[in-house]
């Protein structure tokens, strides 16, 4: 994830290069470090460096990293020829390298030749069955072909070994949500919360999955996680505010008539008030709709 300060720095560098201020190499390094996907810019700034032998030789060993970066960016922009040139150069320098082999597979993927890519990846995996990057490529490929169940299967197999790779857990969670397999998705989000207990996004996503599953117990838990999101974001997350209100409403519906344990009603009414305040500040024309909705849920009088 890219922090706000880093993004500002990146954007400043980008406009600086755009306006002829130099610093293209710094921009490319930063883009690589932050793993941002700005392929058009990377291609635009990187290609002139590669085409200029003097600028290229100035980079020393980094030259080859740039070739790789530009090749991937070119594939992303469907500039297959450029990507092919880069890969040919790399292959000449590093024959038999796994990393270049991966690029070759990606090139096939970019051209839409999935069977060929599959063959390339299998070849690499035969030599080194624990190559994480290749296994992830295979997942991405299954996803690109729309075969989500295969992607899930591959990811599960991958996580069987690399179970501390939290990017993979996150990917799996998102796929499960899209497949409406909420129980499994909840498990993945639990893993993510364990990994980084202070990231509100995971709390929010977990709460949402629980709310979607429904049931009294899940709703109560979901409300708690919405509450923790509110706490972790300092009340700035509108979705979490809504979440608390919705959970409270659903719980009161479910618990109706039953011996309901008296929960404090403070949280949801406070959340409703906070929502109203936010809407008054930012979208005054929608306050009426919100008021009606909240009144319907009996959260404001």
């Amino acid at each position: 994830m890219v922090g706000a300060a880093e993004e500002v720095h990146l954007n400043r560098l980008e406009s600086q290069v755009e306006n002829g201020g130099g610093g293209a190499w710094e921009y490319l390094c930063l883009a690589r470090k932050l793993k941002v996907r700005r392929s058009d810019k990377v291609l635009k700034f990187g290609l002139p460096i590669l085409n200029d032998p003097r600028a290229r030789s100035k980079l020393g060993g980094e030259e080859w990293t740039l070739y790789e970066q530009v090749a991937i960016a070119a594939m992303d922009c469907q500039q297959i020829d450029i990507a092919k040139d880069c890969i040919t150069t790399l292959l000449k320098r590093f024959p038999g390298s796994t990393r270049v082999g991966r690029l070759n597979g990606m090139l096939s993927e970019a051209k839409g030749e999935f069977a060929e890519a599959e063959r390339v990846y299998e070849q690499i995996l035969e030599k080194n069955p624990l190559d994480q990057a290749i296994q992830k490529r295979k997942v991405a490929m299954a996803k690109a072909r729309g075969d989500l169940s295969a992607a899930v299967e591959l990811l599960n197999k991958y996580l069987e070994i690399f179970m501390a790779d939290y990017d993979a857990w996150r990917e799996l969670a998102e796929i499960y949500v899209s497949q409406q397999m909420y129980k499994q998705a909840a498990f993945c989000y639990e893993e993510l919360i364990l990994f980084q207990p202070t990231v509100p996004l995971y709390h929010l996503a977990y709460a949402e999955v629980l709310y979607t599953m429904g049931g009294l117990e899940n709703l109560q838990t979901a409300k708690k996680y919405y509450a923790s999101t509110i706490d972790l974001t300092g009340g700035q997350n509108t979705r979490a505010l809504y979440g608390v209100c919705m959970c409270a409403f659903a719980i009161s519906q479910l618990a109706k008539g039953r011996s309901k344990e008296q929960e404090s009603a403070d949280l949801q009414s406070l959340a409703a008030e906070a929502l109203l305040k936010e809407y008054k500040q930012r979208a005054p024309d929608k306050v009426a709709i919100l008021t009606a909705t909240l009144r319907g849920m009996k959260l404001i009088s």
């Binding site: 080194n128 624990l130 179970m163 364990l194 980084q196 838990t221 996680y225 509450a227 509110i230 406070l270």
Partner: protein, 247 residues
């Protein structure tokens, strides 16, 4: 000890000091490339990788346990530590020690031997060469005085106690080069060059590592973990946050 200085022949500089340094550098570079050629890629063992990952994940479970609902925590704990097939559970007898594993794997032994040979052979040869041609005379003078304790370091090979300590014997010059050129090598060969002997020593000492021990230690600490769900407290905290916003 007389007050007058020993005058060193310029031929010594031209034929001993400079050639010795140049040869040391060249041998270092040569060794780097030879060891690069001999280095064999060793595919990591699946079980070792998995054990490492299991320990990492268990550590996260331990650290963040209070942030997930009780039920999910207990199911995870069972998954990690149950006595039949918990992933942290190491069956008795299977816990082989690393030493035995090292000897049972011939690849590892060969690899270590290669590393050692590439280190020892050139050193023995150059030392013999220096000893044969250049032993027993003064090769250089350092421009500042030193105490007697440095005599064994700087005048190795000359058994004269009357020579001033700031004179360096040729054999000592060899040793100084051997240990002092690391900085130069990392400059010309890149940061992580294979000639770094000190680093290699560190790696060798890391061989006592035993994954089974780590697994069972992690298992014990998860077993005694008390689960205290933190989330109910968050509702109160969220209320406080919202009150501040609303008011």
């Amino acid at each position: 000890m007389s007050g007058e200085d020993l005058v060193l022949d310029t031929a010594i500089r031209d034929w001993v000091l400079i050639p010795l340094s140049v040869v040391m550098v060249l041998i270092g570079v040569l060794r780097y490339f030879v060891s690069k050629l001999m280095r064999s890629y060793q595919a990591p063992d699946q079980k070792v990788v998995r054990d490492g990952q299991v320990i990492l994940r268990a550590g996260h479970l331990r650290a963040g346990a209070n942030f997930i609902p009780p039920k999910t925590f207990y199911s995870r704990r069972t998954y990690f530590t149950n006595e039949e097939n918990g992933i942290l559970h190491v069956p008795k007898g299977q816990a082989q020690n690393a030493q035995a594993q090292m000897f049972s794997d011939p690849n590892m032994a060969v690899d270590m031997m290669k590393k050692n040979l590439s280190m020892i052979i050139p050193q023995t040869l150059t030392f013999a060469w220096v000893n044969f041609f250049f032993s027993g005379f003064v090769a250089a003078k350092i421009p500042f005085p030193l105490t007697q304790r440095f005599r064994s370091m700087l005048q190795n090979g000359i058994d004269l106690s009357t020579v001033d300590v700031s004179y360096v014997s040729s054999r000592s010059w060899y040793f100084l080069n051997l240990f002092g050129l690391r900085g130069l090598f990392s400059l010309i060969l890149g940061e992580e060059n294979a000639t770094d002997d000190a680093q290699r020593m560190m790696q060798m000492s890391g061989f006592g590592f035993d994954p089974a021990k780590n697994l069972s230690a992690e298992k014990d600490s998860i077993d005694i973990l008390q689960h205290d769900w933190a989330l109910p407290k968050f509702e109160k905290r969220a209320e406080a946050v919202l009150r501040r916003i609303v008011s």
